[in-house]
C-alpha cells in the first residue's frame, strides 16, 4: 500500500512512484479528464468496481495514479502537517464575510491554527536550537496560549469550524534560534494588527470582547519575543523598530492585507469572499 498521508504519482512509462506537491479533495474528487491519470481520494474509492478495474489497468499500462493525501484518513484532517506544498496551492479556505461575525472568528481561527502549529514545531525542535532554559519556558507558554486560542475559537465556532489550514515555512530552520525568533516576531506583530483591523467588522460586543481578550495576549507575546531578540531596546523617540513596543499605536491591518502576509505560510489558498469594501484606517494609516 501507498504510505499514508502523502501524495504519490506514478511516473508515466516507468514503474516508479514519485512524491508530488499535494492537491486536494475538492480539486480532484475522482477520475481526471486525462486518459492515463486517475486520482484516488479515498480508500473506499478503491473498493468500487470501476475504480479498481481502471486502477489495475493503469498500473499494468503506463498510466499514472495520484493518491490524494487523505486516502487513508479523510478530508479536512485535523492533523496539521498532512498536507504540504507551496503556499496557496491547496484547497481554497473560503472566509465568507457575508457570514458576519462568524467570518471574523473563522479568520482568527485560521491565524491561530498557523501560530499554534508554528510554536508546536518550535518547541519540538528545542534540542540543539540554542534556546536558554528561560527562553524555552517562555516559548512553551506561548505555544500553550496559541493552542488554547485555536481550540477556544474552534469551540466557539461550532459547526463553522470545519476547515484546517496546513502550514509551510519555506527554508525556515527551526534549529536556528535567530531565524525562529524572527519568524515569531512576524507572527505576533501580524496577529495583533489582524485582530485590531478585523474588530471594526464585528457586530456583537460579546465577540468583540473575545477578540479583545486574545489580542492583548498576542501583544504581550510580541513584546516578549522582541525583547528576546533585542533586550531592553527603545529610546526617547518611542519609535525604535527593534523595541518591544516599536510604535505609540499598534498597527490596524485590513483582513485583505493580513491574508496577503499570512498566505506565504499557508498551503491552502486563503480566499476572502464578499470581503468588506470599506476599511477604516487606524492611527498609523498603514492598514491596506
Amino acid at each position: 500500500m501507498i504510505p499514508g498521508g502523502i501524495t504519490w504519482y506514478r511516473v508515466p512509462g516507468t514503474g516508479f512512484l514519485t512524491k508530488v506537491s499535494a492537491n486536494t479533495c475538492a480539486e480532484f474528487g475522482g477520475e481526471m479528464g486525462e486518459k492515463n491519470v486517475m486520482v484516488i481520494s479515498s480508500a473506499e474509492q478503491l473498493m468500487e468496481g470501476n475504480t479498481r478495474r481502471n486502477f489495475l489497468k493503469l498500473v499494468g499500462l503506463s498510466g499514472a495514479v495520484i493518491f490524494l493525501p487523505n486516502v487513508l484518513t479523510s478530508c479536512n484532517s485535523s492533523n496539521n502537517g498532512d498536507i504540504t506544498g507551496p503556499p496557496g496551492t491547496g484547497t481554497p479556505v473560503v472566509i465568507d464575510f457575508a457570514k458576519g461575525d462568524t467570518a471574523i472568528l473563522q479568520f482568527a481561527y485560521a491565524l491561530e491554527q498557523l501560530e499554534a502549529d508554528f510554536y508546536t514545531k518550535v518547541v519540538a525542535n528545542f534540542s540543539g536550537a540554542g534556546f536558554s532554559s528561560g527562553e524555552q519556558t517562555l516559548l512553551t507558554d506561548v505555544k500553550f496560549h496559541e493552542v488554547i486560542h485555536r481550540e477556544a475559537l474552534k469551540a466557539i465556532l461550532g459547526s463553522a469550524n470545519d476547515f484546517t489550514v496546513h502550514t509551510t515555512y519555506g527554508a525556515l530552520n527551526f534549529k536556528d534560534r535567530t531565524a525562529v525568533l524572527g519568524a515569531a516576531k512576524t507572527f505576533e506583530d501580524l496577529g495583533v494588527a489582524a485582530y485590531n483591523g478585523a474588530a471594526q467588522y464585528i457586530t456583537s460586543t460579546a465577540n468583540l470582547l473575545v477578540a479583545g481578550k486574545i489580542v492583548s495576549v498576542e501583544a504581550r507575546h510580541a513584546a516578549a519575543i522582541r525583547d528576546l531578540i533585542t533586550p531592553k531596546a527603545g529610546g526617547a523617540s518611542g519609535a525604535n523598530p527593534d523595541s518591544f513596543a516599536p510604535k505609540s499605536f499598534d498597527d490596524v491591518f485590513s483582513p485583505g492585507k493580513v491574508v496577503g502576509m499570512a498566505q506565504g505560510f499557508v498551503v491552502e489558498k486563503l480566499t476572502p469572499k464578499n470581503a468588506p469594501t470599506t476599511f477604516v484606517e487606524g492611527p498609523n494609516g498603514n492598514g491596506q
Binding site: 481550540e151 466557539i156 489580542v215 516578549a224 523595541s243 518591544f244 513596543a245 499605536f249 490596524v252 484606517e281
Partner: protein, 273 residues
C-alpha cells in the same frame, strides 16, 4: 463649501451615510434629538450641520463615546505623569533600563495627545489633567520618584500597565459604532499590553498574568488582578483546553480579562490628589 462637503462625504462609509440619510429624513421631519444639528441648520452652515449630523446618526454618539474617551484620557494622564516624573528623575532608573521607560513615556504622552484630538474632533472639550498622589494615599509610603526607589517605581509601572490593558478592553464595546475611536482604542490597548509584558519581564515575572495573581505586588493592588482567573469564554468553560497545554493556569494566561469602568475608578482613585 462644496469641496468641504464632498470631502466629508468621501471620508464616511456608505453604510454610515445610509444611516445619516435615514436620520436626515427624521431630522427634516423635526425629530432630531441633537440640538447641535438644529442650531447649525438654523445658522445655515451645512458643513457644521453635517458634522453634527454625523455624530447624531451614530445614535449612541456622542455622549457614550465621549465618556469613554475622557475616561481613557484620565488614565493616560496618570500614566504620562508617572513616566514623565520617573524618567525626569535623574538616577532613579538605571541607564541600562532607561530606553524602556523612555519608550513608554513617549507612548503615553502620544496617547494623551491623540485622545485629546479625538475628543475635540467630536465636539467636546478634553478634561484637564488632574493632580496626582503617587503614594496612593499612603499605600506606597514615601514614594516621590527619589533615587533609590526604582523597585517601587517598577511595581507601580506594572500595576498601571496591567490596569490600562484591562481598562481599554472593558470599554471597547462602547466604541463599536465609532470605528476611528475603536481603532484608536484598540491600537493603544495593544501597546499597553506590550508595555505590561516588558515591565513584568523586567521584574523577573512572566509577561502574562497567571490566574489572578498579583505576583509580589502589594496587597492594595489586588483589584488590578481581580477576575483574571476567569476560564469562561463566550459562555463556555474552557478549563479543559488546558489539558496537555499548560493546565488551568495557561488557560487564564491565554485570555486577558476586562475591568469595568467602576472597577478601574476604584483602582486609580487613590492616585488622585
Amino acid at each position: 463649501m462644496t469641496t468641504q462637503i464632498k470631502t466629508l462625504f468621501d471620508t464616511i462609509d456608505p453604510e454610515i451615510l445610509e444611516t445619516v440619510e435615514t436620520r436626515g429624513e427624521e431630522i427634516a421631519n423635526g425629530r432630531s434629538t441633537n440640538s447641535k444639528v438644529i442650531a447649525a441648520l438654523a445658522l445655515g452652515s451645512i458643513p457644521v450641520a453635517f458634522a453634527a449630523l454625523a455624530k447624531d446618526a451614530y445614535g449612541q454618539t456622542p455622549t457614550d463615546v465621549i465618556d469613554v474617551l475622557q475616561f481613557a484620557l484620565t488614565l493616560e494622564y496618570l500614566e504620562s505623569e508617572f513616566y514623565n516624573r520617573g524618567v525626569g528623575s535623574v538616577g532613579l532608573i538605571p541607564a541600562s533600563d532607561l530606553p524602556i521607560f523612555q519608550t513608554i513615556q513617549k507612548h503615553e504622552n502620544d496617547h494623551v495627545t491623540a485622545l485629546k484630538a479625538f475628543i475635540t474632533q467630536r465636539g467636546a472639550t478634553p478634561g484637564a489633567k488632574p493632580n496626582f498622589d503617587f503614594t496612593a494615599k499612603g499605600n506606597v509610603p514615601g514614594f516621590n520618584f527619589s533615587v533609590g526607589q526604582y523597585a517601587t517605581f517598577q511595581v507601580l509601572s506594572q500595576a498601571f500597565e496591567d490596569t490600562g490593558v484591562r481598562a481599554y478592553k472593558g470599554q471597547a464595546g462602547r466604541l463599536i459604532n465609532d470605528k476611528p475611536a475603536l481603532n484608536a482604542a484598540l491600537s493603544i490597548h495593544a501597546v499597553e499590553a506590550r508595555h505590561a509584558s516588558e515591565i513584568r519581564r523586567l521584574r523577573g515575572k512572566k509577561g502574562w498574568i497567571s490566574g489572578d495573581s498579583r505576583d509580589d505586588l502589594p496587597l492594595f493592588t489586588q483589584p488590578v488582578y481581580e477576575g483574571e482567573n476567569n476560564a469562561s469564554q463566550a459562555g463556555m468553560d474552557i478549563t479543559a483546553l488546558g489539558n496537555g497545554n499548560g493546565g488551568p493556569t495557561a488557560v487564564t494566561e491565554a485570555f486577558d480579562e476586562p475591568l469595568t469602568k467602576d472597577q478601574v475608578i476604584k483602582i486609580v482613585t487613590p492616585f488622585f490628589a
